[in-house]
């Protein structure tokens, strides 16, 4: 399991990455997105493809909120996901000006998640689907 201290180290390192992702949607249309984005399953023990979210990439400096970029099995950007800790939210923490993987958003799902490696505290998933077929592609087995 990746410890919090390891996460902090990765996050700190990524602050000095020379090629920071600007949030330009064109750069992230196909996987893999440019550095400092990294595949989540390479950072923590999680499946490569998570049903409903796809293959996830994140800039470790933006944890826990993200954005996480979700790709379908053909490598097409399909969703942007934010993971918002419930406890911090209830205590007044705000996350503003979060970047999106694409400016095109077809629909949004918001739901509770009990936690997983990387974002272990109970949190909310905010999922922006970028086209009308994205949801189905990300659910594919």
């Amino acid at each position: 399991m990746l410890s919090l201290s390891r996460f902090a180290a990765i996050a700190a390192c990524s602050l000095f990455a020379s090629c920071a992702y600007s949030g330009d949607s064109a750069a992230a249309d196909k996987s893999p997105p440019p550095a400092p984005y990294a595949k989540v399953s390479s950072l923590v023990k999680l499946p490569d493809f998570i049903p409903g979210l796809g293959t996830l990439y994140v800039d470790p400096a933006t944890l826990p909120a993200g954005p996480f970029l979700g790709y379908d099995k053909d490598g097409k950007l399909s969703a942007t996901i934010y993971m918002i800790p419930m406890d911090a939210l209830s205590k007044g923490t705000a996350w503003n000006n979060l970047k999106t993987g694409s400016t095109q958003v077809d629909s949004v799902d918001i739901y509770y998640n009990a936690g997983h490696p990387g974002v272990e505290e109970p949190h909310a998933h905010v999922v922006l689907f970028h086209d009308d077929g994205a949801r189905q592609r990300l659910e594919s087995k």
Binding site: M1, K45, L46, P51, Y111
Partner: protein
Amino acid sequence: MTSRRSVLLGASLLPLVAGFHAWRAARGGTTAPVVIAMRGTPRGEQVWFEPQGLWVAPGQTIRFVNEDKANVHSATAFHPDLYGRERRIPQTAQPWTSELLLPGEHYEVSLQVPGVYDYYCLPHLAHGMIGRIVVGTPEDVKWTQEDYHRSNRPTGLPGTFPDLNDVLATRRVPPRK
């Protein structure tokens, strides 16, 4: 609802069952692993062990299987040697952890020391994903007062363990959802 009579009847049969398993283990016989599944809803709103409470004879192999297609889980004993948690297993028992299991992976453990074993899932402790395994019966000489009187709540953490008497009476206690 379980009646007091059935609780007593169930508990009274346990020494016979435990004795059979112990005899079989001593003879070198094998019994199939007893499975505890790690499960969750597809989007991860709820996660749990199934069953949450389990009774086994000493030496019985227990297999934890991650049946959750979208999440990883662990089965980790409450013990100071593992992530500094309080000890909630018998004093002479070895602590154990599966570490994180991907979907479809499994981990086996055989608990030899009679008593009450409480465990949790590493990434879901804050959500209260916890379970209890009872090994042997209160008649076992190795049971201690600590086993009889272990609380049903982990200190400072969410979740509730199945009551010892319920586990002894029914052998399998389903999770609270």
